[in-house]
Symmetry: C2
Subunit: 335 residues, 2 copies
DNA sequence: CTGAAAGCGCTTACAG
DNA sequence: CTGAAAGCGCTTACAG
């Protein structure tokens, strides 16, 4: 059974297509009798307007859809961003096309191209590594584009980020304050800009106090890699008395390792990124928390403000981080 | 700067629109010279095909987009479903419109209507409470529709669920095996079918052994409600020696309460739904786990099989659950 | 191998 | 208040 079209409704109601269009769009100035006839026909045929077709012809060409490109819709950080954007989008009657890129630049391009082909009105992108210069055409086409979580490379556009360097510095300062002088760093792929910034913050904090950087392990991307890295650190000569774990999966892997070594109550740990149940572990996990809800809301709002016609120079918007103390970061250095 | 159209490309390349169309769609039988001219024009104008417009005219009318209606894109269960469906969709070159309904039937209808208006090729719905009979028109329109997580009401369609009743029974059996005779139940809103099934499984297990149902608390929907409910249970006369918590937020709230009562190592607990870090708590949390990845993959596959033309009578597909023992459920009754 | 005409489902810009 | 004609960006169904 084929879907009924506006034409079918017009024929059944014995009016012109234009009149059906008026009724569907709630335009004023249609006789109540015709409204009734059209409404009845719509009901009878189970007619559903084809919004896609109407947006093709409509003056502004808007599809009331935006595209959201995330690292992985299933990870808590991404999905919280996603939900925040959805809430803003819903206020504007706009639907969301969402997808995951898993750190793969090729997937990022493919996804954005898919979304662009579906004529999204705007785009929010958490960029993978690599260059986003290929998006310039989008901007020239007038489609609002906002980056979130990480700054883009090769293009200037609105960007919503946190101050990763300052946040990391704060975390490491906290450990220094608790007497630690040998502080290990475990961080994500050095291809990721935010990972590099966090390492820099770690170095800043130590340099300020004239402390030699402890063991530094980069390119730790998964929980199990973090676990193995920590085992290696504590098998070595001069193990750290504290760890700064620069990403949430890394934090969790490190905790798992400390547990199996029986050191979770003696080695201090501060993680970057909050995660669910961090407060229920023993000890509770001290973290530098981002605010993905605020980030998502702001990113989406910027898109809608551009769509509403506001104009400004592309800018970087920095959302503050927050140190949440729960126990693991307050373990004093025994020495 | 307006977006270039296929016509613009045709003009610049000095060919007909049809030839541009052929090049864009990689149809064979175009002179290399014309292909080159068209390609150059596309490049020069930054032309991006309007997939929306082409699907309007294309024979099958497909938009290569499916709609996914979830309880909340940010909750771990929903987002894992989402990701699994995305992976299947990507294999088919299909994008996903996703949205959250937060248990609100009106939001469910609004979201589905939004998706239908954008001509999605198929729909996967985790239904809120209430009736889904209004979706019959979709089925008649030929749009594949699959329900996931909960069975729909008022309509017959493919459905992917777990056996909630059997899973709950399993959980409670486990507690009985460990000597418990006063087992409390804490469960979600009784308006939710799966919550009712889980309560039934709890009753089944106890009835089998001739044990009187312990304290039963229904309509516990959030973490803090669960926390308060547990405090109330243990302030009463005959507190349970074990708890069956029938949903993950309820489980977490209950654990928080047991902690603050200092009873987490003496009161046994089995939860329904696994959650991240359940193994890192002390004690580890024993759960009946669902497999949202398997559920999501199956639900999406059913949509694509229907789109490929396969036909069958709508059926209920049951994905098995699994008991994961981690400590909290193996606490013996001291009596 | 190439293109002119018609049409997908709808709205625009008019005319009456 | 209502509708006929044209057109949004593309593909179909032909004809050459």
């Amino acid at each position: 059974m084929a879907r009924a079209t506006l034409r079918d409704v017009a024929r059944l109601a014995e009016v012109s297509p234009k009149t059906v269009s008026r009724v569907v769009n709630r335009e004023a100035g249609v006789t109540p009798a015709k409204v009734a006839a059209v409404t009845a026909a719509i009901e009878k045929l189970g007619y559903r307007p084809n919004f896609t077709a109407s947006s093709l012809r409509r003056a502004n060409g808007r599809t009331a859809t935006i595209g959201v490109v995330l690292e992985n819709v299933a990870n808590p950080f991404s999905s919280t961003l996603h939900r925040a954007m959805e809430d803003v989008a819903r206020e504007h009657g706009v639907a969301i096309l969402a997808g995951s890129v898993d750190e793969d630049p090729a997937r990022e391009r493919a996804l954005i191209s898919t979304f662009a082909g579906r004529q999204v009105d705007g785009l929010v992108v958490a960029p993978a590594s690599g260059n986003q210069g290929y998006l310039t055409a989008e901007i020239l086409g007038g489609t609002p584009l906002v980056f979130v979580d990480r700054p883009p490379v090769g293009i200037s556009a609105d960007t919503v980020v946190i101050d990763n360097r300052a946040g990391a510095r704060r975390a490491v300062d906290h450990l220094i304050t608790h007497g630690h002088r040998t502080i290990g760093y475990l961080g994500d792929l050095r291809s990721i800009a935010t990972a590099r910034d966090r390492l820099q913050g770690y170095r800043d904090a130590l340099a300020d106090e004239g402390i030699r950087p402890g063991p530094v392990v980069e390119d730790v991307h998964t929980e199990s890699e973090a676990e193995r890295a920590v085992h290696r650190l504590f098998a070595a000569d001069r193990p750290p008395t504290a760890l700064f774990t620069a990403q949430n999966l890394v934090t969790i892997g490190a905790i798992r390792a400390l547990r199996s070594l029986g050191r979770q109550h003696t080695v201090a740990l501060v993680g970057f990124d909050d995660f669910p149940l961090a407060d229920l572990l023993e000890p509770g996990v001290t973290v530098v928390a981002q605010d993905p809800t605020a980030m998502g809301r702001l990113a989406a709002s910027l898109v809608f403000r551009r769509l509403a016609g506001e104009q400004w120079e592309p800018a970087v918007h920095v959302i503050p981080t927050r140190l949440i103390t729960r126990g693991s970061g307050e373990i004093q250095n025994a020495v």
